[in-house]
């Protein structure tokens, strides 16, 4: 089964492979989440959502729902 960015636990890293949602992917790519980029899970908000990841040199927060659209290799 394919792994998405939402499956990472804090400290784990993964490589972005693809996106499942065109609209969200445009925004993510503008923010530096591109295929081939390393993404590291940092921490989740107290209620488990949204989460904070480290990508292209900065901290990005996004909802779990959106993290699920990022497919990792």
């Amino acid at each position: 089964m394919e792994r998405s960015a939402a499956d990472l636990s804090p400290g784990q890293k993964g490589m972005v492979k693809d996106f499942t949602d065109e609209y969200i992917s445009l925004k993510l790519m503008e923010m530096g989440v591109l295929p081939g980029t390393e993404i590291e899970m940092r921490f989740a908000a107290p209620l488990g959502d949204p989460i904070c990841v480290h990508v292209s040199g900065y901290a990005l927060s996004l909802r779990v729902e959106e993290a699920k659209t990022i497919i990792l290799s």
Partner: protein, 703 residues
């Protein structure tokens, strides 16, 4: 002196753009409107070497493709080559510690064809993270002028000013050639709209519908061309973004060297985040911050507000004693000066609120608050970003509603605008204060809590829950397919720059005074006229009427004068209005006098206390609440002889004021922000209806 040159400032959010803008222009800033767009533009002016430079600060954005109201302005402004204020030069502000992502926007801006300067900020942070940037290589690789600036100390400012005036700019060559994507459509658009630049033409096709200066025929023309040449916007945008990043990455390899050790800034941020977004402490700290902020708004602002109140009272007295007696003097002393005072008195609260908000934003904590609350807010059809307007709403709904512009989703934004006026703004405070003092005993609850304070807190909670539950209802009703999403940068923690904080306070207070001031002033003049004139001759014959009906009063005594002014008020246009609405508000326990206050305070709630003061003939001592309080306490119900202002009436009034949409300025701002009369009207009827029903239930249950 040569013609003034126009410069536009663009950059990612958190890139330090505001600091650069403040360094360049200082206090010479003004807020205007973009022609055709309901959007504030912040611009400023400075002189350098005898040349005047106009600087326009554009909203922060990650790319030229807009997602929020804020961002839409950026491309709209930069793409109209024929507009009179089209910038001669564009300055892109980029965060040196995060160059790759910042350069995406730079590369797009550069392709628009205007001379562009790249300003690097936060070099100190980059160095601490062991990122070394070869500036000469950066200039050659990206074919641009690079200036570094220290936003805190202002180093590099003169170099930037020189670069802005300098004529030597590298020759234009596209960073990414969009002709690879769609070679056919670009010449067609170029010719039709007389454009010189390929990328601007290509963006006409990409952003046809968000552009405000295109006519409908123009839009149709482009839409037809898009179909004809098989223009697939999203796919092209994806390719463009990926290609741009590829080029940026390969070029940056020549520019950046990185040593492996972990930067200390990131360490500090990680440590702070471990506490500030912790499962337990995270919310506790957030609540404490809110608590301190509320305390500050209400406690620290008090002495200043008293001084302003006193000052305007004196001014009004001065005006009536020194200006020649007459209608104009009355209008100035009783209408205009108190009206202006009603605006100015809120400056301390607005200033303190924006001081807090600006510190929270500058330090990077506000982004964490948004992060912490997103999940909770989402349940109510709001967004983490809605928390900022909701908190600001505690001071005043007007700046709060303007703060919704960075919410990307239209639905989230509309719901936020709709419910923000429920938050108990500072204008409700004087109303609550006097009613609580009147009907709530000053006893202790559980030994520590003051019952009056507790009531005030409950009223604030009532407003908050009013907002939350209305959002819930609206979420169910609004059927919009648009996706709500939440993708946001969490910036590193930094010490706020005090100059930025001061300029924010200054700018926001000024906007408030001028935006709200105009309307409140107009209303107070109308109100004065309504209360000073009446139909027929009853107003002129007031003294005779009182001499006849209340013969025990000695003409010229205080009691006599009070009776005369009460009589005049009862027979004025305002009094007639009050009598007209009396049957409607009777079930809530209100009489015609409260009716007048309800009508007058529809423009702005704080007018309630002033009107009540006038009605009960307290005279000039508007600010002296104890006298108003005594008068109200002495007021008897004409039917029962019991005190008029009992617990039931007081509570009913408080609940009414907690919910009712009594603020013309807010309605005006909602109209301006939504560009539709529908939303302010819905708001007015929904909130007033809710206020009426809740007040009715409260009164009928308690009486």
């Amino acid at each position: 002196m040569s013609r003034a040159i126009n410069v536009a400032l663009v950059g990612n959010p958190n890139a330090g753009k505001t600091s650069v803008f403040n360094l360049l222009t200082g206090m010479n800033q003004k807020v205007g409107n973009f022609p055709g767009v309901t959007m504030d533009k912040v611009s400023g002016v400075y002189n350098h070497n005898g040349q005047q430079v106009n600087v326009l600060d554009l909203p922060g954005t990650y790319s030229i493709y807009p997602r929020s109201m804020d961002e839409r302005v950026v491309f709209d402004f930069l793409s109209d080559e024929h507009a009179p204020d089209f910038p001669d030069k564009i300055i892109v502000v980029a965060d040196a510690s995060n160059l790759e992502r910042n350069l995406l926007l730079f590369s797009q801006i550069k392709d628009l064809g205007q001379p562009t300067i790249l300003v690097l900020t936060m070099l100190d942070i980059a160095n601490k993270q062991s990122i070394n940037i070869d500036l000469t290589a950066l200039e050659t690789e990206f074919n641009t002028t690079v200036v570094t600036i220290n936003g805190r100390k202002g180093e590099g400012l003169n170099e930037l000013k020189d670069a802005i005036l300098s004529d030597c700019h590298s020759e234009y060559k596209p960073f990414y050639d969009v002709n690879e994507l769609s070679p056919e459509i670009i010449p067609v658009i170029k010719e039709k709209f007389d454009l010189a630049n390929d990328y601007i033409s290509y963006q006409y096709a990409q952003q046809t519908y968000s552009k405000t200066f295109l006519s409908n025929e123009d839009k149709e023309f482009i839409a037809e061309a898009k179909v004809k040449y098989n223009f697939c916007d999203r796919q092209f945008q994806t390719t463009e973004t990926v290609e741009r990043y590829k080029t940026i990455r390969s070029k940056l390899e020549q520019v950046i060297t990185r040593s492996q050790k972990m930067g200390e800034v990131k360490n500090r941020t990680s440590k702070l985040d471990a506490i500030l977004t912790h499962k337990v402490y995270g919310y506790l700290i957030f609540l404490s911050v809110l608590f301190v902020m509320f305390q500050a708004i209400f406690e620290w602002a008090n002495p200043f507000m008293d001084w302003i109140d006193f000052g305007f009272g004196q001014l009004s007295a001065l005006a009536s004693s020194y200006l020649p007696a007459g209608v104009l003097t009355n209008l100035i002393a009783e209408g205009i000066i108190p009206g202006l005072g009603g605006v100015v008195i809120f400056i301390p609260q607005i200033a303190i609120l924006f001081c807090f908000i600006s510190i929270l934003e500058e330090s990077g904590y506000m982004a964490r608050v948004v992060f912490l609350t997103d999940k909770i807010m989402r349940k109510f059809g709001l967004n983490g970003k809605s928390i900022v307007p909701l908190i600001s709403g505690v001071a005043c709904a007007i700046p709060a509603i303007m703060a919704t512009r960075n919410i990307e989703s239209w639905k989230d934004r509309i719901i936020t605008i709709f419910v923000t006026p429920f938050m108990s703004c500072s204008a409700r405070l004087p109303v609550y204060a006097i009613l609580i003092a009147l009907v709530i005993p000053e006893t202790k609850v559980l030994g520590i809590f003051n019952l009056q304070g507790l009531t005030l807190m409950l009223l604030y909670l009532l407003g908050f829950f009013g907002a939350i539950f209305s959002a819930l209802i609206l979420q169910k009703i609004l059927k919009v397919k648009e996706r709500s999403y939440f993708i946001m940068e969490l910036p590193v923690y930094r010490w706020p720059k005090w100059k930025n904080v001061w300029l924010t306070i200054f700018a926001k207070s000024r906007t408030f005074v001028f935006e709200a001031g105009k309307i409140i002033l107009a209303i107070s003049i109308i109100l004065w006229v309504l209360a000073s004139y009446g139909p027929g001759e009853k107003m002129e014959n007031a003294e005779a009427a009182i001499t006849e009906t209340k013969s025990h009063l000695e003409p010229g005594s205080d009691e006599f004068e009070q009776a005369v002014s009460s009589y005049k008020l009862e027979n004025s246009y305002a009094g007639i209005l009050g009598k007209t609405v009396e049957p409607i508000i009777k079930p809530l326990g209100y009489d015609w006098k409260i009716g007048i206050a309800l009508i007058t305070s529809f423009a702005a709630r704080e007018v309630f206390v002033g009107t009540i003061a006038t009605i009960y003939s307290v005279g000039g001592d508007d600010g002296d609440e104890s006298t108003i309080k005594e008068k109200l306490a002495a007021e008897k119900d004409p039917e029962t002889g019991e005190p008029m202002y009992d617990f039931a009436l007081g509570l009913s009034l408080m609940i009414f004021y907690a919910f009712a949409m009594q603020c013309m300025s807010t309605l005006a701002v909602v109209y301006r922000e939504t560009k539709s009369i529908k939303w302010p009207m819905l708001q007015l009827f929904y909130m007033s209806g809710l206020a009426y029903i809740s007040a009715l239930v409260a009164y009928q249950l308690l009486k």
